[in-house]
Symmetry: C2
Subunit: 216 residues, 2 copies
DNA sequence: TTCGGCATCCACCGAACGGTTGACGGGGAT
DNA sequence: ATCCCCGTCAACCGTTCGGTGGATGCCGAA
């Protein structure tokens, strides 16, 4: 019997690529696709696949949240979720693993890595991209404890996400205020909470974050 | 006879996705794939496809350079190249178009957009993602001229290049001054000339430029 | 040698940014 | 009905940034 998988990614190109690569494996079958987190969760609940493959960046419910609601600590019959993303930022990795992910891959992973990760997840094991594993171990060594040095990624609100992008495009606060028809104060509020949530010290670091997570 | 296409992208997932979506079209056939710019150019020279679909970000020779050497101003029998990228930043677009691209798409484009762009390129037309087109027109309107608002890249000095990177990493002027053991004034001088040369209005736009040109 | 480019520095000033505190209404959850 | 989060806004204040107009010394090319 083949491993039943669902794939969720907001980019049609990536979604098709993942699906095709997995379907090319003799013992893997993609039984569903979704373009956002909410539908991914619905689909997973309905189909109960052996493995869910989620992109982190998705509109609405992101991959982390989706993972949490399918494989989180308080879920009774958790599904196996493999999270995939373009950049290997620590915040994401820890958040994904804490959310219950059984795997963490980068989008530049090849077909081999991909199918290995799916097989591992289906077997109750977990596969993490080697480059990430190294940093994970290092992090464990640094803290000397069993708990990873997690900066809990706080989920950005819709408005914050919008502001984030404009900041990363080099807009000034005044320009942002005009663009969204809100006051300068409000823009500063949003940017303040962005800095707090992302741990950024200034707007350039906000822009950095946006770039590194391909939000620009 | 179907349209012969080659696809170049360093991410296997995206490459597979693009190939599958295009092969699903009755009159399009993907005749080759490449994972970096150099091989893409070789492949294109050998196969002479009707359309080349290039990602901008590729190791070695990037998509822009690859486009230039296949469709640039001084090429005698130019091929039709469609450039695709995740980012829709102006520098990329202009660079791609100046390099001779016959299309410019974002990676979040759907299958429709993709096949339309390939068809257009094969017919000697050009298709650009709507969101980008709007900004292009706006830019043309701003300059009021028929020539694209191309900014000739002035060469950065070594020092400027160094400062550029630190700015893009979110450092403040004071931190940069400490890091290089120079005065705050000097940092400001360099940043001023950076802004002048790059046409940036503030340091975030400097950071943008650094990210877009893979300097970070 | 003279000229220009580069890197260094200074002073001044207004604009933009970042931090803080507090406030208000709406909506969803309990 | 209550509470909390979100989005909105205000006032205030210090810091940082960006702009201007210089200055100096060094080096290499003309």
């Amino acid at each position: 019997m083949s491993i039943r998988v669902i794939v969720a990614d907001d980019q049609e190109i990536a979604r098709t690529g993942l699906t095709m690569i997995l379907n090319a494996q003799p013992d893997i079958e993609v039984v569903g696709e979704a373009a956002d987190g909410r539908r991914a969760v619905e689909l997973a609940r309905r189909l109960r696949p052996d493995v869910c493959l989620f992109d982190i960046r998705m509109p609405g419910l992101d991959g982390i949240e989706a993972t949490r609601s399918l494989a989180g600590p308080n879920v009774d019959s958790p599904l196996a979720v493999v999270v995939i993303t373009t950049f290997d930022l620590d915040e994401y990795i820890y958040a994904a693993l804490r959310a219950g992910a059984r795997g963490f891959l980068l989008k530049n992973a090849g077909a081999d890595m991909l199918s290995h990760a799916v097989h591992a997840a289906a077997n109750g094991d977990a596969l993490i991209a080697p480059s990430i594993t190294a940093r994970l171990l290092e992090a464990f060594a640094r803290t000397g404890s069993g708990s990873p040095p997690v900066r809990p990624i706080e989920v950005l609100t819709d408005r914050e996400e919008q502001i984030l992008v404009t900041v990363a495009r080099g807009r000034t606060n005044n320009e942002i205020a005009d663009e969204f028809h809100i006051s300068l104060s409000t823009v500063k509020s949003h940017i303040a909470s962005l800095m707090a949530k992302l741990g950024a010290r200034n707007r350039v670091e906000i822009a950095m974050w946006a770039y590194e997570t391909k939000r620009v």
